[in-house]
Structures are given as C-alpha cells and as structure tokens.
C-alpha cells in the first residue's frame, strides 16, 4: 500500500490577514479569541492525515466543523492558507494553473452534496462533462460516459434531464460523472446527506460494492457517524476545524479520544461496528474419539461454561451442552455421540456482532471458523453482551485469560 494523499499541517483562515491569525493560533489562542480580536474565522486548523491507495477515508463532523472546507482545499476549490497537500508525492498547493487543471481533469473527481448536476444538460451530457472539458473526442466520451452510467445502473436514463430523476438517481448521475473520468481520487462531499434514509442506505451499499471493484482512493465527508462507520476504512472526527481522532471504526467507538467523540459514539449500534474477532476467545474443544461425557462435564465445570465444541479428526463436529448431556444419558457417563448437536451457530472472524445475535440470545457459543474452515475461536454470549453493554471502559479484550475470567464470572449468573 502506498500513501496516495498526504496532508500536512493544513490550515484555512477566512479573513484579510491569515498569517496574523495563524500566528495567534500558534501562540495558543483559541479560535474564538482570534475571531474576537481580528474578525477572522479559522476554518481548518493544522490538519494532518494521509490516505492510502484504495482506502476510504471518512471525515466526519457536524456542520461548521470545517469538513467541507477541508475537502475543497484538496482540489483547491478553496485555497489553503498554510500547509502541504501531496498526491502521489506531487505538490498540489504549488501547482500552477495548467498543472492544477490537468490534475482536476485526470486525477481527482468530486461528488457534491446537492448533486450539482447541470440542469440544461441531459444525464449523459452531465456524465460526459469532465471528458468534454478535457477535449476527449465525442464518440469516445459518449462510450465512456455510458459505461459509467451502466456502473450505476442508469444507462436507460441517458437522454433525460436530471430534473426528471429522483434524488437518489440524481446522485447516481453525480457519482457516474465522477467515475467517467476514471479518476484515481474521488472526493465526496456529503454525497448522501440530501437523500432520505432508505435511499441513503442503498447508496452506501452500492458505493461499497463499486469500491470493491474499483478500488479508488476516496475521501468521504459526512455528518452522519453511522455512515462514517459503515463506509470508512479509517475515520477522522473533526471538530472546530481540527481532527479530534483518527482511527478505524472500532478504535473510534471502542476507544474514544475525548468526551466529544464519546458523546458521539454512545448511541452507536456497537453490534454493527465490532466484529467477531474482537470478542473471540481461543478455540476450546475436545476430540470426540478421545473423550466421554464425564470428561466433557469436568471440562465444562473447569471453564465455567454451559456448552463445548467437539471435534472429529480435528474438524468441527458439533456442540454438546449440559442439557443435551443430561437428556442423552440421564446423568450417567453414556455415549457422547448421542448428546452431540451437529447443528451449531458459526461465524467468520470478520462478521459483525449483529450477525451472531440470534445464537447469543439462545445462549449458545458461536464457533468461529476462518475461510479454510479451520476452527479459530469461540465467541461466548457473555463476551458479546459485555462488549455491547460496555460504555467507556476499554472494550478490547484481546488477552484471552482475562476474558475467560470475566466470562467465567458471568456464567453462573446466567445459567442460574
């Protein structure tokens, strides 16, 4: 992975004398003090980040946090007051008009919040626009524009005017217009904010699907944390022109940097953010041929659990629970085979917790298998509920013994 976009110490001051304002900030004055003393507004303040190739980098913040200013500084629709922007090592801020134009024509495309489609042009002409200003021959640009429209499923609407399309369709046209020039970098300024919630979810999924295929480097702006968590490989939380925290969805939700981020994340559906791997415990199982009901029971007591996985020749065979043991043998040391339930909940390490909800509600441990069906871990209902109920304390329970202890403490209460 290479760093596609590198931004260093980027600031924007809206006012007559940016240098003065920046100097005051450097001396530790706050944004409000600068505004009161000089009448200048700090839009973005010393932002640093880098985006890797093929990554979706989400900048999330409320209105007025400077996120739209930030994204516009990247393609210089707004000129930065200070700092450095590099695409593939190429200096963006120092680029002359011709270089800047070339970069915008070929490398960076943008999708806008209110679509910004040209009302006097047809859908196709809108999608063609970037190619037209780049003086691509008519036949070729038509072909490429239609291809982009096909990607977003709107090829049949090519000759319509944008105004005759619904909001979701219009933004698809906006997306197609961005994709038609085949840019390396896609800047998306709250592209889905103007859409209603159902359509928004569709569009998010569609974007994720397209991204799997296209692997563009995307800088995505949003004010919706759920959207940020859904789409972002990494997320930056922005407040009053500064980055408060940059990290993956799990880091942001699990380890908020300050109260501001914590307040944001407290209503987040954690089951959609954390994956199975984050609560997984080491696999615990007995080989079917080498054990009997008594040994299983002893092991269950030892672990403080109510169910245990069984293996046959190293492969996952089934699950025994205290109840199935009791029913099969009436309490004695009978055959284990009869007590084993072959149907059991399974999951992949990358699944989000929401997907193992049902199994956990039934009180069964979930077997985690990797892509090659190797048994790599167990997720106990206790661990899942503990993580979901957790508020602020460190949720990462990577170290297994600690987790097991906690699970053991919780288990009797649950089984009682």
């Amino acid at each position: 992975m290479t760093e596609k976009i590198v931004v260093k110490n980027l600031s924007k001051v809206f006012g007559d004398d940016p240098d003065q304002a920046l100097e005051m900030i450097r001396k530790g004055k706050t944004k409000d003090e600068v505004l009161a003393e000089t009448g200048q507004t700090i839009g973005v303040q010393s932002v640093n980040f880098s985006v890797e190739e093929g990554e979706v980098f989400v900048v999330m913040g409320l209105s007025g946090s400077g996120k739209s200013t930030l994204v516009r500084m990247l393609n210089r629709l707004i000129e930065a007051s200070e700092g450095e922007i590099r695409f593939d090592g190429q200096d963006m801020r120092g680029a002359d008009a011709a270089t800047l134009r070339k970069l915008r024509l070929e490398k960076i495309a943008m999708v806008f919040q209110h679509f910004a489609l040209f009302p006097h042009k047809s859908v196709l002409e809108n999608v063609e626009y970037g190619l037209k200003v780049a003086r691509v021959p008519a036949a070729e640009r038509r072909e490429r524009a239609l291809e982009a429209l096909r990607k977003v499923g709107l090829a049949a609407w090519a000759d319509r005017r944008p105004a005759t399309l619904s909001g979701g369709m219009q933004q698809r046209v906006g997306l197609a217009r961005g994709l038609a020039v085949d840019p390396e970098i896609l800047l998306m300024d709250e592209p889905f904010s103007a859409l209603d919630p159902l359509i928004r979810r569709d569009m998010q999924n569609e974007l994720l699907e397209l991204q799997r295929e296209l692997r563009k480097t995307i800088v995505f702006i949003t004010h919706d944390l759920d959207e940020a968590l859904t789409l972002g490989d990494r997320i930056a939380i922005m407040k009053e022109g500064r980055f408060v925290q940059v990290g993956t969805a799990e880091e942001i939700v699990g380890n908020p940097a300050d109260d501001y981020v914590a307040a944001f994340t407290q209503d987040v559906d954690r089951a959609r953010v954390f994956d199975v791997a984050s609560v997984m415990e080491p696999p615990e199982a007995l080989e079917l041929a080498e054990t009997d009901a008594g040994a299983v029971r002893a092991r269950l007591d030892e672990l403080g659990r109510d169910a245990l996985h069984l293996l046959r020749d190293g492969a996952l065979a089934g699950l025994v629970t205290r109840r199935s043991l009791a029913q099969a043998a009436g309490g004695g040391g009978g055959p284990l085979e009869g007590a084993m339930v072959p149907e059991m909940p399974r999951a992949r390490p990358g699944d989000v917790l929401r997907q193992v909800y049902d199994a956990c509600s039934a009180g069964l441990p979930v077997a985690v298998c990797d892509e090659e069906e190797r048994f790599v871990g167990v997720v106990t209902p206790e661990a899942v509920f503990e993580l979901l109920a957790e508020d602020k304390n460190a949720p990462e329970e990577e170290d297994a013994p600690d987790g097991e202890e906690k699970a053991a403490e919780a288990a009797p209460a649950l089984s009682a």
């Binding site: 516009r72 393609n75 629709l77 134009r101 070339k102 970069l103 915008r104 024509l105 070929e106 960076i108 495309a109 943008m110 806008f112 919040q113 209110h114 910004a116 489609l117 040209f118 009302p119 006097h120 042009k121 626009y129 970037g130 037209k132 200003v133 780049a134 005017r161 217009r177 020039v181 800047l187």
Partner: protein
C-alpha cells in the same frame, strides 16, 4: 436675499462646450466617423432587405414565427396588426423603423452582453459600471441629443446611436444578473472537473443565464422602440418621423397613423421575444437551440416520446 449665484456662477455650459467643441470634435472626428460605419452598414442592409421583401411574404413569415414560438392567438394578432399597418399606408416607414430597431438591438447585444459578463465576473467593474448605467437610464434622451449631433451629425445613424445609449442598460444589467444567479455549486462542480474559466462561461453560465438575458433583450427592444420618435428629432426616419412631422404641423391624423404603427410593431415584437424567453422555462434548451429558435419554425405539438406530459 443673497444666494451664491449672485456673486459667482460656475460656467459649466462654457466648460462642456469647450470640451466637446474644442477638444472632442476636432481631435476625435475620425473615431466618431469610424464608429458610424458598421452601424450604417447594418442599417442600410437591413432596410434594403426589409423594403425589398413583399408585404404579404413578410407578413406570412412573421405570422409563422409567432405561431411557432408563441401561440395561434399571437399569430392571428400579428396577421391583423400587419394588415392594419399596411392599410393605413405606413408600411415602408414601419419597415424602416423595424430596421432601425433591429440594428440598435443588435449592437446593444454585441456591446451589452460582453459588458454584462465582465460585470458579473468582476465586482469592481460592476461597481464602476452601475452609476454609469443609472445615469444612462435617468438622463432624459433629449439631453444627449445635442452632443450626439455635435459629434456624429444628423441623420439615421446618429439617431440609432442615441437609441443604443438609451436601450443599452437593461441587457447589461440582466446579463450580469443572469450570470450571477447561476448556482454557486454548479460553478464549483464545473471547476472541480477541470474546466477553464472560458469553458465554465460557455458550458454553464451562459446557457443557464440565457433566460434572463432574453428578458434583458426584450426590455432593450422595448426601450429602442420608445426612442423611435425621439430619434426622429435628429433626422432618423421611419414611423417616428411621421409622428414628429405630424406634431410640427398639428396634423393629428398623420401623427396617429405613425403612433398606431409604432404601438402595433411594439406589441408584436414584445410578445414574440417574451415567448422566446419564457419557452425556455419549460424545456430549457441550450444556447444554440434557442438561437436557432429565432430562425426556425418548430412544430408546436409535443415531440414524440415525451409522453404528452407537458401542460399546454
């Protein structure tokens, strides 16, 4: 009681006279003569053409244009109005007036649209231009007839120059307004995709401002018509001359004929240009399309495949 002028009077009239007669006229005579050349050429060509077209043919053409861009009602009105103009015996003068108006409007557009674009692009230029436009619109035309006669002489062309000065402000103002009211995010999008300023102008700003510019053109046309009589004072011909002569001789009949001709011509032109402007609200055609619409006769019915959704 004493007032300032008792002891001192500013010799403004002398100053102006000195500047115009003593400096402008002798030094810039060639320039003022040269300015007249394109106007005279266009005017004479148009007048010649309009006079050469037989009345029934011209009427038919204008009726069809009215039908195509507006409605059957306007077509009928055009037919009757032009017939009346001919029947009261002022057809040649009407054509002369039309040639004058079209020439004036053409030059207004040639000068006004670029000025409006420049004003929309530079706030400073707009600030400087605005008082000039205000002055142009508030000064009674009679005031600048004298300097125009000094600089350009008398005749048709000076009359048209006076008309241009009088009719120019609306097209500048509305071009400026039209371009400024193109939504900012569209401009931003155009730049984000690498457009040059020229491409932004031609691809986005002008097409979207076209409706407003057309409204300005309509205003300019109406103002030009209202100058028809005044321009006759300095030697312009056409319907204005009939009215002016009628006025001088207290010939109320002739003056009415001329006046009626002007009113009818004004109504026809106003309705046709208004229809051209408002038509684009429903279909928003491109720049070229609308320009073509000036010359082309289109079927007024719905185009096939539009599903008949348009409200008629």
């Amino acid at each position: 009681m004493w007032q300032p002028s008792d002891s001192f009077e500013i010799p403004l009239d002398v100053w102006v006279e000195t500047v115009i007669k003593g400096w402008l006229v002798p030094n810039f005579r060639d320039l003022f003569q040269a300015v007249q050349v394109p106007i005279t050429t266009v005017l004479e060509g148009l007048d010649l053409a309009l006079q050469a077209i037989p009345m029934p043919l011209f009427t038919l053409a204008l009726v069809l244009v009215a039908w195509a861009v507006a409605s059957r009602g306007l077509a009928l009105f055009t037919l009757v109005a032009l017939a009346v103009v001919d029947l009261i015996g002022v057809w040649p003068q009407t054509m002369t007036t039309l040639a004058m108006i079209l020439t004036a409007v053409l030059f207004c557009a040639i000068v006004g649209v670029p000025l409006g674009i420049a004003a929309a692009r530079r706030d400073g230029f707009e600030k400087g231009l605005r008082p000039v436009l205000d002055i142009m619109q508030t000064i009674p035309p009679f005031v600048y007839l004298v300097p125009i006669v000094m600089l350009f002489g008398v005749g048709m062309t000076p009359g048209i120059i006076a008309t241009i000065i009088f009719a120019l402000p609306p097209i500048i103002r509305l071009t400026n307004l039209g371009i400024r009211s193109v939504p900012e995010d569209l401009i931003e999008a155009a730049y984000a995709f690498g457009s040059s300023p020229r491409q932004v102008l031609w691809e986005v700003q002008l097409p979207l401002a076209l409706r407003t510019i057309m409204a300005g053109l309509n205003q300019t046309l109406m103002l030009a018509l209202s100058m028809a009589v005044i321009a006759a004072l300095i030697g312009a011909g056409g319907l204005g001359l009939i009215v002016y002569t009628g006025l001088g001789r207290l010939d109320v009949g002739a003056a009415t004929e001329g006046g009626l001709g002007i009113v009818l011509l004004a109504m026809i032109l106003d309705r046709i240009t208004q229809a051209l402007g408002s038509e684009s609200t429903t279909k928003s055609p491109g720049l070229l399309e609308t320009l073509k619409a000036f010359f082309r006769i289109r079927a007024p019915a719905n185009p096939p495949g539009s599903g008949g959704q348009s409200v008629s």
